[in-house]
Amino acid sequence: MIFKRPTLLLVVATLLIGSGGPARDAIARDILTLATTTSTDNSGLLAHLHRDFEKKTGIVVKVIAKGTGAALQLARDGNADVVLVHAREQEDRFVADGFGVARHDVMHNDFVILGPTSDTASDTASDTASDPAGIRGVKNAAEALRRIAAAEETFVSRGDGSGTHIKEQQLWRLTRVPLQTKVVRIYSGGVAKEFRSVRPPGDWYLSIGQGMGKTIMVATERRAYTLADRGTYYALALAKPSRTDLTIVCQGDPLLYNPYGVIAVNPARHPHVNTKAATAYVRWITSPAVQAMIGRYTVQGKVLFHPAVVLEEQGHRKRSDK
């Protein structure tokens, strides 16, 4: 007998506490699953925007935040309805392979190279740890990385196949630093596929396989360099209290441009996807009103993302209306 009572109590407690938020998932409603990157989610932008989408359409957005590579894989497997990512080449291949309907520009920001510098110049003790690879003032991102490699200063890499990691590898290839190629063989649908990644071989290079926020935090603790998107960096650096003392040591190289695209998953490939909601989402996020909202979104007064040019908007409209 003794056992029936706790069980009963558990059930009652569950019903009491579970009747609010947590049980909502079970109630049937129009849900759109968005696979996106940690950078858009961690920055708080999506939560801000989606309130508007939910008010206008009644569709609730379920955000699964992974790296770009993982987000696209989710969509390829049919586990998402729409993706919002930032690795142009992979996005185009995703559409060309028939997984996505079409890619639309949404917004852009840029990558920055962060490094340990002490802005309070009075602190001489920490000056020794200030930009030890001497990057400050270097405009060329590949040159900045080359100097980190030459000085063998600690560099923290996402190492997770994310858009940021892909950009980082692109930059390393331009440095002419000797690189190691790692080939991972994965069977997918019975076919072996090879995934290549490159890295400099030294011990100073830390590939941690984590999201953007975590990577900046590790770099902060190690007083290391890292490549980050400006949005996530601002979200951490401008938080109160600030969570990182790394500063931007290299920015403005055209190669550091970071465009985000939205792609609805192709219903011809995955008939079960919520195409109606996905189409509505694509149309909504590329609409002038939401584009303006993206441009107005700030953290501590700093703009994190710039909307895709409004002039392009009409062309997109036509394509997504198809």
């Binding site: 009572r5 706790p6 558990l10 407690a13 579970g18 079970a26 699953t33 699964i64 497997d77 586990n79």
Partner: protein
Amino acid sequence: MQTLLDALRNALHLIFTLDADVFEYAGRSLLIASVSTLIAAVLGIPLGMLIAERTFRGKRAVVTVLNTALAFPTVVVGLFIYTLLSRTGPLGQLQLLFTIPAIIIGEVVLIVPIITAFTMTAVARTDRDVRKTAIALGAGRRQALWTVFCESRFGVAAAVIAAFGRVVSEVGVATILGGNADRFTRTMTTAIVLNVDMGNFALALALGGVLLALSLSINVLFQYVQGGGPD
């Protein structure tokens, strides 16, 4: 040190202002833990008793497998269920991935071995004499089994509590099968991980404190209902 003090203040603030997010995560964690413990108990207790009661060929192998299952890494359990529930998997039709039921399935797989193994041990320990006595006193097979169950109830309760604790504190299954989607599948533990990743240590620690307080209250409740436990 400051972080710890901040965390304490944050935790108290979150609790006393009845922070909506925290209550949502806590409610979700509690829901998942309760339901999966209930299901696992319904499956694991009879299974544990059966294994303890019966003698059959390969019993030692079964026990070994069961004990190995206690060491299942949560991420492996999560991944295994993920491949089943993914759209490309055999159960993809159910559309369960990244939902609360998906997490519950994973947790049940994780803790059924715990409840089974603990129950088995508890029953095996009390079994022989109790059962003989019950039968000697004229009990039928069923009644004898019931007596054995009652006599080993504290061990079985320990199994259930351990299983509940495992789910409440677990992060691998919840992350992989839930996806940490805000307003859908974010639990106390996945929220803690997210805040750690974002360098929000004070809030992460505070959430940890709230989770501990939650576990404490559940256990106090359990103890109370159970009537003090073994002397």
